[in-house]
């Protein structure tokens, strides 16, 4: 966790530019054809399982197998690599950028991700707390549960094979929980945000400041 936190710098960064810039990359090699223009408003996938597709961004066609790729985040198309329209591209090539307006909650989460020690998913799987940790959370709440390197904190469940996951970061309390039991977490995505006990008050100040400085949720 960062020792020195410059509140004003953090807040002014999000005040002056309350957006995330999300790059849209080619999902695989193929010939691309753009379906949106720069400045277009796009909608993210929606529905309980995100099963309702968002705005179609581009079509990619490889070996006569065309696919329409839709937006995963809402916002405005900020930049588009027009010269790639109709061209054959490699997997992972940047096609466009979506400017996503951040909500107050997202700003707090982004700041916390900068200042907390993140413990990330070792594999794409479902996660739940180890029984001992869960019972301590049930009794005291996550903010009162301290974990240290080597502690068994989670169980990773994949095809009914359960693997204990050991924490390997600095000692601290569980400040943020980024997973829900039963919902799959992609490899590398954060599972927990850990905060050294003596930094908890600083974190709380950040949250209070952001809540006070942003009047509305948008």
């Amino acid at each position: 966790m960062t020792n020195e936190i410059d509140f004003d710098e953090l807040i002014s960064k999000y005040k002056s530019d309350p957006f995330d810039y999300v790059d849209v990359l080619a999902v695989h090699t193929g010939r691309v054809s753009f379906k949106v223009m720069e400045g277009a408003e796009v909608e993210a996938a929606s529905g309980q399982w995100r099963q309702i597709p968002g705005t179609v961004l581009y079509e990619i066609n490889r070996e006569r197998n065309p696919k329409f790729i839709s937006a995963q985040t809402n916002g405005t198309v900020a930049e588009i690599n027009r010269e790639l329209d109709g061209q054959f591209v490699e997997a992972g090539e940047k096609l466009m950028t979506i400017k996503h307006p951040l909500k107050k909650k997202e700003i707090i989460e982004n700041i916390l991700k900068d200042v907390l020690s993140l413990f990330v998913a070792p594999e794409t799987a479902k996660y739940f707390f180890a029984m001992d940790i869960q019972s301590r959370i049930d009794k005291k709440g996550p903010g009162a549960v301290t974990i240290a390197s080597g502690d068994e904190v989670l169980t990773m469940s994949l095809m009914k094979r359960d693997t204990p996951v050991y924490y390997n970061g600095e000692k601290g309390v569980i400040h943020s929980i980024y997973f829900k039991p039963g919902v799959s977490v992609a490899q590398g995505e954060p599972l927990l945000g850990i905060c050294a006990a003596d930094k908890l008050s600083i974190i709380q100040k950040i949250i209070t400041r952001v809540k006070a400085d942003w009047d509305t949720d948008h």
């Binding site: 399982w49 799987a125 029984m131 994949l158 095809m159 359960d162 204990p164 039963g182 799959s184």
Partner: protein, 309 residues
């Protein structure tokens, strides 16, 4: 005096019989000698007990004790107990384990690649279902991922857990098994849900003989995991139908999940999440469930219960 006391020789004899039956098939896509060689370590050491609190916990203690003596527990070691006093299923569910059942744990040294380990739970369910079918025929089926049902009631369940011993950090897979054989009383909450082989057949069977058959099937199916891995690494693909993993093909033949209306949940007993139609499994064994709006969701964890139509 221990009731369930199969010998490694009994297991080996049944494993040889399995190998011979595949050798007799004219066009089997698998090499039975390879499968035999890979799987033969399962059941070479069988430790029997009249009672234990929990077999999985006992396995961890055994692994650690041997590691402290600068040795490694033999892969394929099996721990059996006639009864268990603190057995549990997944999450915090209790598992009733009185005399008469097959209760225990297999210790498997982890030397499979992650994509092969993925199939261990299915291989375990296949092994048990194949064994039970020797007694009840097609009445035994598999419910995704590896519950063994007989006439729709649960006969066997499994726990598969990874364990890294703390002394040398050697990784193991522990396969816990609970199979209702000659036990015939269940707690009230399991009435109508659980069944023993004795209840179905209306007579007891030889417990040690059943266990030896099951361990031989386990050895065979673990051997298949290695066989498939080696074949795939050589670039020859898998041996199952349309190039899929052989364990997956076998699972499809034994399972009645596809085509069922199901309720899905990570812990379906206490927190069912949604209902849908089980329309298939993908190449890695994930269950594809079609929701009422037509959307198809693939689950790689959790469990299902069937809904009556």
């Amino acid at each position: 005096m221990v009731d369930n006391n199969p010998s490694p020789e009994m297991v080996l004899d049944y494993l040889r019989a399995e190998q011979q039956s595949v050798l007799r098939q004219l066009s089997s896509p698998i090499d039975p000698s390879d499968v035999f060689r890979y799987g033969a370590c399962i059941g070479t050491s069988i430790k029997v007990h009249s009672t234990l609190p929990r077999a999985m916990e006992h396995a961890r203690t055994l692994i650690n004790d041997i590691a402290r003596n600068k040795r490694s527990v033999a892969t394929g070691t099996v721990i059996l107990a006639d009864s268990m006093t603190q057995s549990k299923g997944r999450f915090s569910r209790s598992w009733h384990a009185p005399d008469g059942g097959v209760w225990g744990c297999l210790i498997h040294g982890n030397n499979l690649l992650p994509e092969s380990r993925h199939f261990i739970p299915m291989a375990t369910g296949v092994a048990c279902c194949e064994t039970v079918r020797q007694y009840v025929g097609d009445a035994a089926t598999l419910r995704w991922v590896n519950d063994v049902l007989v006439s729709g009631q649960k006969l066997a369940g499994f726990l598969v857990e990874s364990y890294t011993e703390p002394i040398h950090s050697e990784e193991f897979t522990l396969v816990g098994f609970g199979i209702n054989i000659n036990n015939s009383s269940f707690p009230k909450e399991l009435a109508g849900l659980a069944l023993s082989l004795k209840q179905f057949l209306r007579h007891s069977i030889d417990l040690s003989d059943f266990t030896a058959r099951f361990l031989a099937k386990l050895a065979w199916n673990f051997g298949l995991l290695y066989h498939e891995e080696a074949k795939h690494l050589k670039g020859d693909g898998y041996s199952g139908q349309d190039g899929e993993h052989f364990i997956l093909s076998r699972w499809k033949q034994l399972s009645d999940t596809i085509g069922q209306d199901v309720v899905y949940g990570f812990d379906v007993m206490t927190a069912p999440q949604y209902a849908g139609y089980a329309c298939g499994v993908d190449e890695s064994g994930g269950l594809v469930i079609q929701l009422p709006d037509g959307y198809k969701k693939t689950e790689y964890s959790g469990e299902v219960r069937y809904q009556t139509r």
